[in-house]
Symmetry: C2
Subunit: 364 residues, 2 copies
Amino acid sequence: MSRAHGRRLGRAGIRDVAAAAGVSITTVSDALNGKGRLPDATRRHVREVADRLGYRPSAAARTLRTGKSGLIGLTVTTYGEEPFTFTEFAYFAEMARAASSAALARGYALVILPGSTRQSPYDVWSNVALDGTVVIDPSDRDPVVTELVRQGVPVVSDGRPCGDLPVTAWVDNDHEAAVTGLLDHLAAAGARRIGLLTGTSTDTYTRLSTEAYLGWCERAGQDPVYEAYPAHDPCAGAVAADRLLARPDRPDAVYGLFDPNGTDLLAAARRYGLRVPDDLLLVCCSESAVYAGTEPPITTLSLKPGRIGTTVVQLLIDAIEGTGGGRPVQRIMPTDLIVRTSSQRRRRRTTVSAPRSPEQRGQA
Amino acid sequence: MSRAHGRRLGRAGIRDVAAAAGVSITTVSDALNGKGRLPDATRRHVREVADRLGYRPSAAARTLRTGKSGLIGLTVTTYGEEPFTFTEFAYFAEMARAASSAALARGYALVILPGSTRQSPYDVWSNVALDGTVVIDPSDRDPVVTELVRQGVPVVSDGRPCGDLPVTAWVDNDHEAAVTGLLDHLAAAGARRIGLLTGTSTDTYTRLSTEAYLGWCERAGQDPVYEAYPAHDPCAGAVAADRLLARPDRPDAVYGLFDPNGTDLLAAARRYGLRVPDDLLLVCCSESAVYAGTEPPITTLSLKPGRIGTTVVQLLIDAIEGTGGGRPVQRIMPTDLIVRTSSQRRRRRTTVSAPRSPEQRGQA
DNA sequence: AATGGGAGAAGAGACGATTCTGCAAGCCGC
DNA sequence: GCGGCTTGCAGAATCGTCTCTTCTCCCATT
């Protein structure tokens, strides 16, 4: 069929706009994209006609021609078939939210893609044109990452990549400083023997945090007291917390590396009749607001996933647009210790029931 | 330049595969896509060569040709410039997680897109080729939805659409049944006057829930006792909770429509010296696990966002692939009342502070 | 022997935009 | 008045894939 202008259903093409405006395709493209040398009158006219016809350029055609899709992949390593891990849900959710915001602000959209499972996710990956990808906690020799880098697609990781994974850039917290600072805080609150609840997996977060703990212990002249458990198992945490408090060399303060450790440890402390913070100081790493409302409120270390997400996306887009300078970049982000009752040695005796104040009545 | 085989940087095209395998482009395409009439030997050979060259078909070209991108948009209405609303974060996160899983399982990927703000998000929308879109709680005459439907893109909404928004299908909870059941539960626990903490906005969730409450009150012969506040304001909830408990006709049970209402009401109750559940029964609608750990644990109504997300995506993909039958579909999903201490009248006497005579007068 | 038909493979457009190149005017200085 | 410059626009190639159509064998049937 050489008669190509069959007035297809609904959607107007650039040809239709050109015909309706009495100009060439080139002129329409230039007018709409602010390129070329055109008088404002022509530009306005073309825009007007395009609006009237409800013209939307085909994203696929544009992507094919320009090689840029405006799409950024977002991947998390998965332990089951679910794309988010149970224990880190709050972290991921906040990180993804911030990343999405940052991407949209610069004209990109985020595509949620499965991590590198051994299943069959390759179709989905090669079915979408990506300008770049964010990977959260890539594993050692992640095949997807390797493949993407080979194709020249920029990859920025949240979390220092293990091994020699050739990512374009990465962002991570200063886990060393975070753990050291937190242990100092506990020591200042009177802790003599600080325990650690850690994980058995080999990701960088677990590894760096544990190493920082061991280093601190050595410097402080304290014997390490820790229990490790498979962090992706939602039940194992409570058991490990119990084990830690059942030890003969029971610690008088504990730091838990994972989000649920706070409640796990609190429950374990209750079982052993330990009062928090009087008999046991508690800190855990968490993004959840739960710990502001527990009894007592628990001090948490926040990794500030929002800031991480924003930074990761900024670096990625810089790399995509060539703004970044081309050299591999790594960015270390600070953490936030939110100090609550559980890590403060008996400040004042808080009365259990709140004092009734009739003055609280604001509304008349 | 007719010399088109410039051995571009890295990426092999279908032409390169054809040349390397000594066959035509057609044969390569057919071999890799399982189409055409080819002997297995040829198919294998082509696949082998393609693998060796690390060939990945161009998603953009395929999309342009076939008209299918394998991409599904996900939109939430925004109140600020953030893509998620504060009060409904947990709901959105879980819904998006489930939707993403369901989409990936059927070979589609989710693209996170901004809701219809008056800002300038049109670029992003028209820069991505979508096979369909999920919208969460679309507003009355959402321009993006209208535009998409006009272009023939299927749109499925989470939440019954207001007005006559022409969505392809929608999924929602049975809010009427949920609220009625919950109020019955409170009444059975001994509540005589049940109050409501609701919102001022006009979305269907707020509207349907409030109407269900009013209807129940009428049937039960109880005067409605409620306070409404702008739900998107994170501070207003606490104030409204306070107002509700300060009323002369103070309710002896309250249902809060929004996630933070539980803690807001709990705090307000403490300020007025009301014990939960002895003096005040509490239920709020929330997806957060916080309420299992509060003192006391609070009964929550879960909207089961995971089920909603899965269903929405299934319906959308059915519509995209023409599996659904073509007629508009609406699906009503059940909710889950998770009963905890806060809505159970004095099971056993917990030894707290002695019961104080409730000053029912309140207002001086 | 001629024909029909099926298997195997190749040719040649689309798909819908971007963009490089080129062409016709108009205007300037000399 | 003429060459060279800018301005305003059009032609046509190209991006990489899918797919409709065609073409050639080759064997079995009539």
